[in-house]
């Protein structure tokens, strides 16, 4: 087997077109990986500067009423993962900035795609783009006539006479081409390791290993499928046409069609419906600014009872702050309900999309690639969750200061000190550990594995039938 693989490589390296294309892909990969890393570093720096800029304004805040400070609010700027340099995923369409303020859970704004004319429908030239769109085609062209050429030239008979089984010959050919893609994959990983060595931790290394395995699986699928078509159809042109049609279907057509179908099966609410239902539920709580109704009465009674006083003015605390926090607590329930439903719908759509990997392994690869790079929807929702959790703690500390920081009910002009505002910690995004997310990608991984096993079996079977 090793001899056949070496012989295949010898043949390929004698081919000038192969050398030219391989060099081209190699250079493209090196450049795209390096540019990806540079762009990542610049974007992270810009994100850090923006976060520091906003924080410095907070730190310099004059003594202010804590609730005014809650309206003044803060911002969370979405950081990007190290592996964003390999696969950008949804990052360019999600927006970069999230306002964190009292009384509302905001949406992210200022997506990169909304800041310019359209450039590329398939995204930036990152390694993922090359691995998903270009390398598979390269592999198809290396594979589609590898068997038929041997057959028409009569060389295959020579190999069979020398004692090699047909199955071994075919599998050796498959491996010889597959290993070329593995070499290209390895180079990308090595460049990442070299240029990002100070930023890597165990989690990133684990993610990179999975990235390598996922793409290796997919490349095997592409090469072996092309061989199967070539062996079964016994005609170069037919084999090539069918493989390219399959590639077009998998890569260009099906992802969009299946995503649209998922959207139709599990329709998302419109922004108007979402905002309206949220406003209706929200109006049933206490309006911190214009409190009325039974809820306000109940809270007032409970507070008076707790402090054992008759009137709000006699409270040792500021009832306005308590009201504001009660308003927030109710709002949190409403947001949990509505945003929770929305996220569940998005996750259900994603589940459906993932299952379609059974007919299109490209979808599984795409999901894994984005997930492993920390740039998919799950990671985005995790960022939103963390930012929202921070917002709640942030607003609560401001409302608590208003209520219990030394002011009394009716003291609207009371101001908290600058030291207090500086004591509130800034938002720190904790990049999730892949192991805490692995269940979300298990289906994709298993589907790719299923495809690999299926094609190994089919290739074995077809070589037996020749």
């Amino acid at each position: 087997m090793v001899n056949i693989i070496f012989n295949e490589w010898k043949g390929l390296f004698r081919n000038k077109l192969f050398i030219t294309l391989s060099s081209f892909f190699l250079i493209s990969l090196i450049i795209s990986t390096l540019f990806g890393i540079i762009q990542n570093n610049e974007q992270n720096l810009a994100q850090k500067n923006a976060q520091e800029h906003i924080r410095s304004q907070w730190d310099k805040m004059d003594p202010t009423n804590p609730h005014s400070a809650a309206h003044y609010g803060s911002y969370a700027f979405k950081p990007i993962s190290i592996l964003n340099s390999i696969d950008e995923g949804v990052n360019s369409v999600t927006g970069n900035v999230l306002r964190l303020e009292g009384h509302r859970q905001n949406n992210m704004v200022f997506s990169e795609v909304s800041q310019s004319l359209l450039i590329s429908k398939f995204g930036k030239l990152k390694p993922a783009l090359i691995f998903q769109f270009i390398i598979p085609l390269f592999l198809i062209f290396l594979s589609f006539n590898s068997y038929t050429l041997e057959k028409t030239s009569g060389r295959i008979k020579l190999l069979l006479v020398q004692g090699a089984s047909l199955r071994r010959i075919i599998f050796s050919k498959v491996f010889s081409i597959w290993l070329i893609s593995i070499a290209l994959l390895s180079i990308t990983i090595i460049i990442q390791l070299v240029f990002n060595k100070y930023q890597f931790d165990l989690d990133t290394l684990f993610r990179l290993s999975l990235f390598f395995i996922s793409y290796a699986f997919y490349f095997y699928i592409i090469v072996s499928l092309t061989f199967i078509f070539s062996v079964v159809l016994k005609n170069n042109t037919w084999a090539l046409s069918l493989t390219i049609l399959t590639w077009i279907g998998w890569t260009i057509f099906l992802p969009s069609i299946i995503a649209n179908i998922s959207d139709e099966i599990i329709p998302l609410t419109t922004r108007i419906e979402f905002n309206e239902s949220l406003a209706i539920d929200r109006s049933k709580g206490i309006d911190g600014h214009n409190p009325r109704g039974d809820r306000k009465e109940a809270l007032e009674k409970a507070t008076l009872k707790k402090y054992n006083v008759e009137k709000l003015e006699d409270l040792p605390v500021n009832f306005s702050g308590i009201l504001m926090q009660e308003d927030e607590e109710y709002g949190n329930k409403v947001w949990d309900k509505h945003f929770g439903n929305l996220y569940n719908q998005l996750k259900a759509q994603k589940d459906l999309y993932q299952i379609s990997g059974v007919v299109n392994p490209f979808i599984s690869l795409q999901n894994l690639s984005m997930g492993i790079s920390g740039t998919d929807m799950h990671h985005h929702i995790d960022f939103l969750d963390q930012a929202e959790k921070y917002r709640r703690v942030f607003i609560k500390s401001l409302n608590d200061e208003y209520a219990f920081g030394g002011s009394k009910t009716g003291e609207r002009g009371w101001k908290a000190s600058n030291e207090f505002f500086r004591s509130i910690e800034d938002f720190q995004f904790q990049s999730p550990n892949f192991l805490s997310f692995y269940t979300k990608y298990l289906a994709d991984f298993l589907i790719l594995l299923f495809w690999v096993l299926l094609l190994v079996t089919l290739l074995s079977f077809t070589t037996r039938k020749i």
Binding site: Q39, G95, K121
Partner: protein, 443 residues
């Protein structure tokens, strides 16, 4: 005659070639599907706009009802007094819409990345968070929607490859290309005419789809002509290099390989590289200028003394000194505070201009690459014709800003003139607020 013969034989070949026929029919079905997607988005935009318009009308009717009943405002908000211009204008909702172009079914472009309606208040700006795109699955965005422009720009070249890669290639594979050379007047013409057949077939198919949408949406054919010209030019952009590929290659495999390489190079590699370069040169903007204007500088305005607010208001609107408040030696704190959103608006405008300028630099860089990045040119040109490109939405933002400016100017002059609003004056307000961009407005 020879041309007709070649066409006749090519039709036979096309009809008998199952893979080609299947690919073509698949493309036609995909076109139907994409246009139906486009229509559903077009209808969705229309129905949303209609429903918002209806809500707006209901709210206006409510205010008129308060006037007619002698009420000051909602029962549970006793501080509201709609006879005060400040409150009557605050209670007058004004939505700005970006109406979908009737050509939207032919290309949704960047429309899913932007909002298409905006409720304007006296504190609004075109970059508010309520103007973001419709709720959508971000991963669907990444894959892109199958719209008609996507089919033309990305899939049509692939269809051309499937239909033409074995022209001459098959003959060379089977070694009877010499026979063709003998039988035809010119081998190159023979290849060219066969290619023209597919060119004509595809151009006719595309034009039929475009014309159908024009007909359904009642669009003048002249308005759709640019789209027809653009799509036909696009077919030529691929057919011409493919002709030379066919002539210079030795087998159908080689032709297919070269054609696919051209497609990959033009549709994926070049735009991807430009995208990466542009992103390096102009990294995503975190809009800190706008955030500062919206927060730090706005809060600084809130803290200004009334005299300073008064002075700043006069510097924005020169004619304010002719109003009652402008001529009064004593500054009215309530009026000044009620109209300070005009000052905040000026700060927002300044910050937005910086953002738009940065975006414009980015767009200029993108446009400067068109000579080697034709796909981006065709995409943006197509989007521009269907009013779904960046500039269509910039116009929408400009329109929002115009409406805000309009509303704030009215607020400033009415408040400073200490007007008392009645139903007639309110009706005048509504007329003035409905002035669209490019129309002069005089308070």
């Amino acid at each position: 005659m020879e041309l007709l013969n070649i066409f006749k034989y090519e039709i036979k070949h096309f009809v008998r070639s199952k893979s080609k026929l299947f690919a073509y029919l698949f493309f036609v079905i995909a076109c139907f599907y994409s246009i139906s997607n486009g229509f559903s988005l077009y209808n969705k935009h229309h129905s949303t706009i209609n429903s918002l318009q209806q809500q707006e009308d209901e709210k206006i009717s409510q205010v008129i009802k308060w006037f007619n009943n002698g009420e000051k405002g909602p029962e549970d908000k006793d501080w509201v007094d709609i006879t005060d211009p400040y409150w009557s204008l605050r209670y007058t909702p004004k939505h700005v819409f970006k109406n979908p172009s009737p050509l939207l079914p032919l290309g949704i472009g960047q429309s899913e990345q932007y909002g298409y309606y905006k409720k304007t208040t006296i504190w609004s700006s075109p970059y508010d968070s309520d103007i973001i795109e419709e709720i959508s699955n971000y991963e669907r965005f990444v894959n892109g929607n199958i719209d008609f422009s996507f089919l033309i720009i990305f899939l049509l070249p692939l269809l051309i490859i499937i239909l033409t890669y074995n022209i001459n290639g098959l003959e060379k594979d089977l070694n009877f290309d010499k026979l063709i050379s003998i039988q035809t007047r010119s081998f190159n013409y023979w290849v060219l005419f066969r290619l023209i057949f597919y060119g004509v077939l595809l151009v006719s198919t595309i034009n039929i789809f475009i014309l159908s949408v024009l007909y359904i949406n009642n669009v003048n054919i002249i308005d759709g002509l640019d789209l027809i010209k653009l799509s036909n030019l696009y077919v030529a952009v691929f057919i011409i290099p493919f002709y030379f590929v066919i002539l210079s290659s030795k087998s159908s495999t080689s032709i297919a390989f070269k054609m696919i390489s051209i497609w990959l190079f033009l549709c994926v590699l070049v735009p991807g590289s430009v995208h990466q370069y542009v992103s390096l040169k102009y990294p995503p903007n975190f809009m800190t200028d706008f955030l500062d204007a919206n927060r730090k500088e706005t809060y600084a305005i809130f803290k200004l003394p009334k005299e300073e607010l008064h002075r700043q208001m006069l510097s924005i609107y020169d004619d304010l000194d002719t109003t009652k408040q402008g001529q009064d030696s004593l500054v009215n704190i309530k009026t000044t505070r009620n109209t300070m959103s005009c000052i905040v608006n000026q700060i927002n405008i300044h910050a937005i201009n910086i953002i738009e300028e940065q975006n414009n630099f980015k767009n200029n860089l993108i446009r400067s690459t068109y000579w080697f990045n034709p796909i981006s040119y065709f995409q943006n040109e197509w989007n521009s014709l269907t009013s779904t490109d960046y500039y269509a939405y910039k116009d929408f933002r400009d329109n929002i800003q115009f409406v805000i400016n309009n509303k704030l100017k009215l607020l400033a002059f009415e408040c400073w003139n200490e007007r008392t609003v009645n139903v007639n004056l309110y009706d005048e307000y509504l007329k003035k607020l409905n002035v669209t961009k490019n129309q002069q407005f005089n308070p």
